[in-house]
Amino acid sequence: MRSKSYGDKASLGLKLGAIGTLLFLHVPLWVIFLYSFTTDESTYSFPLPGLTTKWFGVALQRTDLWDALKLSLQVASLATVAALILGTLAAAAVYRSNFFGRDAVSFLLVLPIALPGIVTGIALRSAIGSLEIPFSFWTIIIGHATFCVVVVYNNVLARFRRMQSSQIEASMDLGANSFQTFRYIVLPNIATALLAGGMLAFALSFDEVIVTTFTAGQQSTLPIWIFSQLVRPRDRPVTNVVATIVILITFLPIFFAQKISAESSDTEGETK
C-alpha cells in the first residue's frame, strides 16, 4: 500500500503564503486609489485626515497635465502604428518560409526588451546625438517603436501558425489573386491578433519612461511628469489623482487585449 498520496489538498501554510503574495501584489494599487481622495496637501499621512473629491477637479484644470497626456497618447498611437506595420511584415516573412537566419530575426526583435532599458536608451541617445539630430517628438517615437515591434510580432506570428493554410490555397484555387487573398482571407484571420498586439504595444509605449528620458528633448510625456513628481514631490494630491487615472487608462486596453487573446486562445504575446 502506498503512503498518503501526494498533494491532493493544499496545506493551510501554502494557502496563506499564496494569499499573502497576492495581497502583496495588489494592496499597493488600492493604496493609490485611497490616497487620491485625501484632504492632506503636504504629506502622505495615514490615516487620511479627511476625504474629498476636489483633487480630481484640480487635476482636470492643469494644462501641463493635459499637454503631457496628449503627447503620451500621440506618441503611443504612432509607435503602435509603426509596430503594427513592422511586426506584421516580420511575422509574415518568418511564417512564410524557412530561410536562413530566421532565429536571428526573432532574436533581434526581442533584444530591445531583453536588454535593460537603460542600454537601449543611452544607445539611442548617443546615436541620435552623434548624428546631430535634434531630440524631439519623433525621436521619442523612434525609440518606442524599437521595443513595441516584438509584441505585435509575437501575437501575429502565433496567429499565422494556427491559421489553416488550406484556406489560402482554396482562395487561390478559386481564382483570387494574392492581393485579394490577403484582403479577404489573411486579414480577417489576423485581425484580432493585430488588435491584441496593438493594444499591448500601446500600453507599453504609454507607460515607458526609461528610454523616453534619453530620447526626449524638452518634451514631457505623462510618465516623465510622474517621474519628476516622484523625485521632487510638489503637487502631491494631484499626483495621487494622476496615478489613479493612469492605472485606469492602462488597465482598460490590457483588459480587452486579455479578453481577445483568451477568446482566441492565443497567449503568446503576453510576455513583456
Binding site: 503574495t21 533584444l111 546625438g129 494574392s178
Partner: protein
C-alpha cells in the same frame, strides 16, 4: 493587378525578402546601429578641461570604471539585484505552486490574470505606491506604531549600509519596491515549470514510500529550479538597469542606472556612461550563459 500577383507568386523568395526588408532595415539601422554607436563611444574619452568628447581610441574610459567609487556602484547594484532575486523566488514560490498544482482550471485563469495585471499597470505608478506606503507618516509606519514595533524599525534604519532617515529614503525601501515590481516575472516561469511536472511522477514518488515533504524536496524543487533561474533572468537584469527606483526611494549612493543617467546628462560624458552600461551587458551575457547551462530556457 493579376499579372503583378502572378509575378510575386512565382517568386516566393522575393516576397519574403520584401516583407523582411523594412522591419529588418529598421532594427538593424536604428537599433543595432545605436548599440554599435554606444560601443564605439565607450572607447572615446572626455577631455577634462574642454568638456568635449575626443574621438580617439582609448581604454582609459574603461580604466575609470575600476576606481573604488565606481566598483562600489557595481557591487552595490549587483548585490541588490541578487538580494531581490532571492527574495522574489521565496515569495513567488507558494503562489506559483498553488496555481500550478491545486487551483481548478477556472481559478487558475483568474489567478494568472491577477498575477500579470500589475505587470501591465503603470510601472511608475507602482513605484509611487511605495513612496506613499513607506513614507515616514505613511501606512507602514502607522502599522508599525500600532504593533509597538517603533524601536525595532529604528534599529533597522540605524543599520549602516542599508538604513536611512526613513524607509522611503533607504536601501531597505528600494529593496521592498524592487521585490514588488519584478515579482510577477518570477511567479510566471516557476508556475510554468511546475505545471510541466507530470502528476504520475508525484504518484510514483509516494508509491515508492516518500513522505509528501520528501517528494517536495527531492522531486518538485529540482524540477522547479529551471523556472526559478528563468525568473531570475528578469529580476536580475531589470534591477541592474533600473534608475527609477534608486532615484525615487534611495539615498545619495548611486546605482549603475543613476551613474549612467548622470554621466550622460549633466557632464555630457557619454563615453563613461557608455562604458558603464557595458557592465550590466557583460554581467547579463555571463548570466544568460550560466542560465542556459542550468536549463532555464526550456522553462520560459
Amino acid at each position: 493587378m493579376n499579372r503583378l500577383s502572378t509575378y510575386f507568386y512565382k517568386r516566393p523568395a522575393l516576397v519574403t525578402l520584401l516583407l523582411l526588408s523594412i522591419p529588418m532595415l529598421y532594427m538593424l539601422v536604428v537599433y543595432l546601429g545605436s548599440l554599435f554607436a554606444l560601443l564605439l563611444n565607450s572607447f572615446y574619452y572626455l577631455e577634462e578641461f574642454t568638456g568635449l568628447v575626443v574621438k580617439e581610441f582609448t581604454l582609459s574610459t574603461y580604466a575609470q570604471l575600476f576606481k573604488p567609487t565606481n566598483l562600489g556602484i557595481f557591487g552595490r547594484t549587483a548585490g541588490m539585484a541578487m538580494a531581490v532575486t532571492i527574495m522574489d523566488a521565496l515569495i513567488a514560490f507558494p503562489l506559483a505552486y498553488y496555481i500550478a498544482k491545486f487551483a481548478s482550471p477556472r481559478l487558475r485563469t483568474y489567478l494568472y490574470i491577477a498575477v500579470t495585471l500589475p505587470l501591465w499597470s503603470s510601472y511608475l505608478v507602482r513605484v509611487y505606491a511605495w513612496k506613499l506606503i513607506l513614507s515616514k507618516e505613511g501606512i507602514l509606519s502607522w502599522f508599525v506604531h500600532l504593533f509597538h514595533l517603533d524601536s525595532a524599525l529604528d534599529i533597522l534604519l540605524a543599520l549602516p549600509g542599508v538604513g536611512g532617515s526613513s524607509l522611503s529614503l533607504s536601501p531597505i525601501g528600494m529593496f521592498i519596491a524592487f521585490c514588488y515590481i519584478w515579482l510577477p516575472y518570477m511567479i510566471v516561469p516557476i508556475q510554468t515549470a511546475l505545471e510541466r511536472v507530470p502528476k504520475s511522477l508525484l504518484e510514483a514518488s509516494s508509491d515508492l514510500g516518500a513522505k509528501p515533504s520528501q517528494t517536495f524536496r527531492n522531486v518538485i524543487l529540482p524540477l522547479a529550479f529551471p523556472g526559478v533561474i528563468a525568473g531570475s533572468i528578469f529580476t536580475f537584469s531589470l534591477t541592474l538597469g533600473d534608475f527609477i527606483v534608486p532615484q525615487s526611494l534611495g539615498n545619495s549612493r548611486f546605482f549603475i542606472g543613476q551613474a549612467v543617467y548622470s554621466h550622460q546628462g549633466t557632464s555630457g560624458n557619454i563615453p563613461l556612461a557608455a562604458a558603464f552600461t557595458m557592465g550590466p551587458v557583460v554581467i547579463m551575457v555571463v548570466y544568460l550563459l550560466i542560465a542556459r547551462k542550468l536549463g532555464a530556457f526550456d522553462a520560459l
